[in-house]
Amino acid sequence: MPAAATGDARDLHAWTVDDAGRAVLLAVRRPAEAEDLTALYRTGDAAERRGVLRALDVVELDGRARKAGGELVADALRTNDLRLVAAALGPFGLTTLDDDAFAHAVLKCVFSGVPLSGIAGLGGRATPLLARMLTAYAHERVAAGRTVPAEIWPLVDAHPPVAELDALAAELDAPDEARRGAAAAALRDRRQARSPAPEDS
């Protein structure tokens, strides 16, 4: 019965009852067998795969099982199924992914609307690479006259990329009105993220 434990079935990060049931079954064997994890994931439907990914956060894992789990996380992050993407970014995923793969995973969340707020320990994985990629993404959105998700700014300002931020600020003088407006809105969000007090207006 895939009811979310939090009562909100739309929360991509929330554990569901069936996730918990599967994790309990996997936790019986200690440590978890790498072959079990792989076989259950590969032969599973989307909910069963998510259950395996969630279980990686709570069951005891030896070296082989950790390696197998890392491959499942990588597989889940290649899908476009946001339930799997979110489940792959639990505590296990965060300690397993290298900086490159982690930055791509975060960008994928921003692109596809997986809320960053539900990823525990995200701030501790902030890197200059991630900040640069997010700022380049913000610039692309602004150049298209589109909005930029405000949740990216704390990760950008953990390692502010000078060249990319300059390029973004230059959009304030773009000939195109939509670009100027999008740049102003994005940079206002960035200021507010740094000092949450409301601005004079």
């Binding site: 990588a74 290649r78 793969a101 990629m133 380049a136 692309e140 150049a143």
Partner: protein, 285 residues
């Protein structure tokens, strides 16, 4: 108006779409091989997919007077499955020899991993060996970096710029491709990648030389009529008919003609092999 949609995934679309596309002026398309939304687990799935792009889809398209061609490749995302990648690359050469294949594609980057880079480079070599042009997908994430890596990889492999088409470009990436003399394409989507109004501005800034417009319609929110809608937006913005014809017909014809396999004469008028809204399925009703 005559339209050539140089990038559309008809395998994800219905026969009604072919009918509406024909009504909007589409007379030729190229369907590049891509990711189906669900990871494939064996090379057999690719073989069946490639066969469909060379068999069923051209058959379906022909019933509406649309000439269907394809580009074949292992896509960047599935290049990250090493065993699968090896097997798919092994079957590609025999497919690249088929008449309906006018390019190698979509190749390129997704997460810009070493495995993607290796499959990309291997397929550029296959394209050179098969004397085919290459259609390159640029990534959603870190697009500018990915676009530059694409241009460098193609140049270093010895692929001539006139045989390189770099796709899914936006305001920040069109310029870097233009500088290298490669062909440029923009995918016009309902709410991502590029829209009609932005496309008008790009044409006004960069002109029509070596620039293509496609719908890239697939299983996501997309619209197989986007090339026609963009042509209408261009006309409304005062772009002349000759320039629009260059963008939506002559440029894709010029690029894919280098394969020596583009066939644009229609095999008979639409309407004589299908009745009403029904698709001929091998027997006549």
């Amino acid at each position: 108006m005559r339209i050539f949609d140089p990038h559309i995934h008809m395998t994800s679309r219905t026969t009604d779409d072919y009918e509406r596309m024909a009504g909007s002026g589409v007379r030729a398309i190229v369907e590049p091989a891509f990711w189906l939304g669900q990871p494939r687990t064996s090379v057999g799935s690719f073989v069946d997919y490639f066969d469909a792009l060379l068999g069923w889809e051209p058959f379906r398209a022909a019933q509406f007077g649309i000439r269907h061609h394809c580009a074949l490749a292992l896509n960047p995302k599935e290049a990250n499955d090493p065993g699968l990648a090896r097997e798919v690359l092994a079957v590609l050469p025999r497919y690249l020899a088929k008449d309906g294949v006018v390019a190698v594609g979509e190749v390129g980057h997704d997460a810009q991993t070493p495995a993607e880079e290796a499959a990309f480079a291997a397929q550029v070599e296959l394209a050179i060996a098969a004397d085919l042009p290459v259609m390159v997908h640029t990534p959603h994430r870190d697009k500018l970096t990915g676009t530059r890596r694409t241009l460098d990889l193609c140049r270093d492999a010895g692929l001539p710029p006139e045989r390189t088409l770099v796709d899914h470009l936006n305001e920040l990436t069109v310029g870097v491709v233009a500088e290298r003399g490669c062909w440029m394409a923009c995918s016009v989507y309902p709410d991502t990648k590029m829209d009609e109004a932005r496309m008008v501005k790009i044409v006004q800034e960069y002109g029509s030389e070596r620039l293509l417009v496609n719908s890239a319609a697939d299983w996501g929110r997309s619209d197989p009529l986007k090339v026609a809608r963009t042509a209408a937006a261009l006309a409304e913005a005062g772009v002349d008919a000759d320039t629009i014809d260059t963008l939506v017909w002559r440029n894709p014809v010029a690029f894919f003609s280098s394969s020596g396999r583009l066939e644009l004469e229609s095999e008979g008028a639409p309407g004589d092999t299908f009745a009403g809204n029904s698709l001929q399925r091998g027997e006549r009703g």
